[in-house]
């Protein structure tokens, strides 16, 4: 007997969940990757990948609208049969979970750069993971609510910084529009790895049963992915316009440097970069929280546990261990590129397969009738 679930998530919250799952630490070094791909036209590449993601997001949303009662765990088993379905859900769970150690590592890096220069990983990462596990052991309602709140804070500060940085904007930096050289296939890691930052919408696979209006999921997904694309494009455009692509290539975190170059001499808190980092902790936190929570939830659903909180706590040591594997920037940059490929697989291929399966199934049912 399935308990009747409370449907409470609004469209706005769905949009914010998609956005907050996507926006994490990755955006801070996104312009660097973009500059590598298409030089001064890097923002166009970001926009293009965004369009692709919007498209596959829409496909996913159409698929999901057909099954408003099921999360991916049930849906894939329905469509692909039990063994394949479990495999697909495991893949998606792995995909969700793979963000957490990376984001924790990025957080550690950010904190060590700026706020606590000598704090060891067991403190920064450990405190963060404990908070994460505590948060993920809550019920879905408070997760959705806290996401909404934290994302608004982070987005607000980020937007203020980006807009303020326009005082240094020089359109010459964005020319020639399509970059200086052709897209180099040898840089496929950067070119396709960019997809890593866009991977927010699979969260709707898990959200549908809680949506207030499941039929509006297409609208929500479209707004979410489109907004995401706009945010990323705008941000990359700003960074490239302020620094030029050559300087952007020198910077590990162009986002932070952007905040560092914002001139607010009269304001008491004159270091906007630190303010940005502090608020970006919440952006990273929401990314981790969403992926961590849905990982725990799906694992407990697959194994038939009643409560997901035990899984949430049990995952913490594993995450801790995994994030210690990323020794430095280059290691996790490469990892994030592979994560990008994985993301493309999950966000583009998987919905397509599922949709085809769903259509075949529907036709066979109609045929039987």
């Amino acid at each position: 007997m399935r308990q009747k679930k409370e449907r409470f998530i609004t469209i706005r919250q769905t949009v914010l969940l998609i956005i907050c799952f996507s926006i994490g630490g990755g955006i801070l070094y996104l312009p660097n990757t973009a500059a590598k791909v298409l030089q001064s036209g890097g923002w166009l590449w970001i926009f293009g990948v965004g369009l692709l993601v919007i498209l596959s997001g829409l496909i996913t949303a159409f698929l999901i609208r057909m099954f408003p009662e099921d999360t991916l765990v049930e849906l894939s088993q329905k469509l692909l049969g039990k063994p394949l379905g479990i495999a697909v859900s495991l893949m998606l769970i792995l995909f969700f979970f793979s963000f957490v150690p990376l984001e924790v590592r990025i957080l550690q890096e950010l904190v060590n750069i700026s706020i606590l220069q000598q704090a060891p990983f067991w403190f920064v990462g450990g405190l963060f993971l404990l908070t994460l596990a505590y948060a993920a052991s809550q019920n879905i309602k408070s997760i959705v609510y806290v996401n909404e709140l934290l994302m608004e804070i982070a987005l607000g500060v980020g937007l203020v910084v980006t807009v303020l940085a326009w005082q240094h904007f020089d359109p010459v930096h964005l020319l020639p529009v399509f970059g200086e050289s052709r897209i180099n296939p040898a840089h496929f890691r950067e070119e396709l790895g960019v997809a890593y930052i866009y991977t927010g919408f699979p969260v709707i696979f898990f959200l549908v049963p809680y949506l207030k209006l499941p039929q509006k999921v297409v609208k929500a997904t479209f707004i979410g992915t489109a907004f995401l694309t706009l945010i990323y494009t705008f941000f990359t455009l700003t960074v490239l316009g302020v620094f030029g692509y050559k300087e952007t290539l020198n910077l590990t975190y162009p986002g932070l440097e952007l905040a560092k170059s914002v001139n607010l001499e009269t304001v008491i808190l004159e270091r906007l970069d630190l303010v940005l980092i502090v608020s970006w902790i919440s952006a990273i936190f929401t990314t981790c929280l969403v992926s961590y929570f849905f990982t725990a939830l799906s694992i407990s659903k697959l194994c038939g546990f009643k409560s997901h909180s035990l899984v949430a706590w049990a995952l913490a040591p594993l995450t801790y261990y995994l994030s210690t594997l990323f020794t430095n920037y280059f290691v996790w940059k490469e990892y994030s590129a592979y994560l990008g490929f994985f993301a493309l697989l999950v966000t583009v291929l998987l919905p397509a397969i599922l949709l085809i399966a769903a259509l075949i199934k529907r036709r066979s049912i109609q045929g039987n009738q």
Partner: protein
């Protein structure tokens, strides 16, 4: 399950105790009943109440065809003696009435006395002793007559009480100066005077095994969400407690998150606030013997709203509210941010200020965390001392403690002046919270935050804030999200959260409380730009009409 087995033995003992108590309790609920023999009844009453001297047994004889003994029982001090003398005893002596035809029907005598003789506005009949006790002990007068197994209960309540006075805690510059007092009836009457709507429902119940305190549930039947009303009522009815001394007893028992630092029920002694909340579709719980009224559900932001916000013009109210939210942030974060910045991130402090702080800290014996902590504790002590001392002395303590002690500590070089400023500003900010409960919450939360700042700097503060937000967004106050309307977001409700809008723009009630009737009717018509509100033409001809 294993835990339960482990604790089996003590539980068994407890059960034994309960078993012993149950028969007596049952008896107390319904029986024993009155008998037709007056002497027996009086004996029972005297056995129970006789040793208390404030219970007055007045024997009386009805001079009918034969003398009928009558007993009048009341508690001295709780009753109005004039009412007893003039309207009970005097009317019983009016023999003309009693000697008429109907008086001869002895079996109906009680009913006739109730209907025709007593000129008291509220008379009822009871047949069981427990009810009789409750009634008599709450100030009513019982009239027992020989040959009847029922007693007449006359409302003669009237005791010494405080009049309606200006509220002490929540004072306003502009607005009604009426607060509640300790009498439930007068409090409900005050609400009635504001809302003359037949749908205003006042449900009364008695809570407390021994105190039998009257508790009233007040709400607008056509506005308040019935689910919320039911939830409040259900929780109130489940309370099993010895006595209710103050409404906070009830508050503790019906709160959603008893372990949370945040209050999920609001309390106030201002009548106008209660009325406003009832009009928003919330439920008020009035309790006898205390002027403090509970209101539920409540959102976090409402705890920072003062009654006055609605009496000033909206721009001023907006300013006041902004100041209040700002000082909320100050009262929570100022010391911890100061600690975090000065320990880990001095680059965030402007250079000139940083150098000044460094200079003043030269030679201060304590680290900055301890310094701030000591000052915070000192402030708390001063606050507590001035609250406990009688009025004028309290102010003196405030001045002596705050001013002289702080100045001396700075002069002696024990504390740096910046810390004093920070702590004083924090204390000052926490006073702006209109609700005492939430101010206390912030005072309590400040210390863990300072600790987080010590160990983690700004990172610690960020993590602590996230923890706090997770906790807060998990709270539901009677099903209403605590942080609404910020999460879940509702643009329409923001008009009365951070901003304020003119009265005429408040067309809807806050959707947060899921009221049945969303419209505040009539407000729409008051828009000044509408045709009917054309300004009167004071000069020129009136022909245009």
């Amino acid at each position: 399950m294993k835990f339960r087995q482990y604790f089996r033995r003590p539980k068994k003992l407890k059960e034994l105790c309960e078993e012993k108590e149950t028969p007596r309790q049952q008896q107390g609920e319904e029986g024993p009943f009155l008998t037709a023999c007056l002497a027996d009844n009086v004996n029972y009453l005297k056995k129970r109440l006789g040793e208390s001297e404030d219970v007055i047994f007045r024997e009386y004889t009805l001079d009918l065809s034969e003398p009928i003994p009558v007993m009048v029982v009341f508690v001295d001090g709780l009753v109005s003696k004039e009412v007893i003398n003039e309207f009970i005893l005097q009317s019983l002596t009016f023999k003309g009435e009693l000697k008429t035809e109907w008086a001869k029907d002895r079996s109906q005598l009680l009913k006739h006395i109730k209907d025709r003789v007593l000129n008291i506005n509220e008379v009822s009949m009871v047949s069981s002793f427990p009810k009789l006790f409750t009634m008599v002990l709450s100030g009513e007068t019982a009239l027992l007559i020989e040959g009847h197994d029922e007693a007449l209960i006359c409302n003669t309540r009237g005791w010494e009480h405080r009049g309606i006075a200006e509220p002490q805690v929540e004072a306003v510059i502009k607005g009604p100066r009426v607060g509640f007092n300790e009498i439930l009836r007068s409090n409900t009457a005050q609400i009635r005077r504001w809302i003359r709507d037949p749908h205003l429902t006042i449900k009364t119940m008695q809570i407390g095994k021994r105190s039998k305190t009257d508790v009233a549930l007040v709400y607008l039947e056509t506005v308040a969400n019935p689910k919320i009303v039911q939830a409040v009522e259900k929780r109130l009815k489940q309370i099993d407690i010895d006595g209710v001394i103050e409404s906070s007893f009830l508050q503790d028992m019906i709160e959603d998150k008893p372990f949370s630092l945040f209050p999920t029920v609001q309390s106030t002694e201002r009548a106008d606030r209660v009325v406003a909340s009832i009009l928003e579709g919330r439920v008020a719980v009035l309790c006898d013997n205390t002027p403090f009224v509970l209101m539920a559900p409540v959102t976090f932001w409402q705890l920072y709203h003062a009654a006055e916000d609605y009496y000033h013009r909206w721009p001023l109210a907006f300013l006041l509210r902004t100041v209040r939210y700002l000082s909320f942030l100050f009262s929570l974060y100022l010391p911890s941010v100061y600690i975090a910045l000065s320990l880990y991130n001095p680059e965030l402090i402007p250079f000139n200020l940083a150098v000044k702080i460094a200079a003043t800290r030269e030679g201060v014996p304590f680290p900055v965390f301890l310094e701030a902590l000591l000052m915070e504790i000192a402030i708390e002590i001063i606050r507590e001392a001035s609250a406990r001392l009688p009025g004028p002395l309290g102010q003196t303590i405030g001045i002596v403690g705050g001013f002289i002690l702080g100045d001396a500590a700075v002069r002696a070089g024990l504390i740096s002046p910046i810390t004093t400023i920070v702590v004083a500003l924090t204390a000052l900010s926490s006073f702006t919270a209109p609700s005492f409960e939430v101010a206390v919450t912030m005072r309590l939360l400040r210390f863990p935050l300072m600790f987080f700042a010590l160990i983690g700097g700004l990172y610690g503060i960020a993590i602590a804030t996230i923890l706090l937000l997770i906790h807060m967004s998990g709270i539901l106050s009677f099903g209403v999200p605590y942080l609404a309307p910020v999460v879940p977001f509702s643009l329409d409700d923001l008009k009365d959260t951070f901003f304020t809008v003119p009265r005429w723009a408040m067309i809807n009630r806050p959707s947060t409380f899921k009221a049945i009737d969303q419209k505040r009717k009539g407000t729409k018509a008051n828009r000044w730009w509408q045709e009917i509100y054309k300004p009167p033409q004071l000069e020129g001809d009136e022909e245009e009409e």
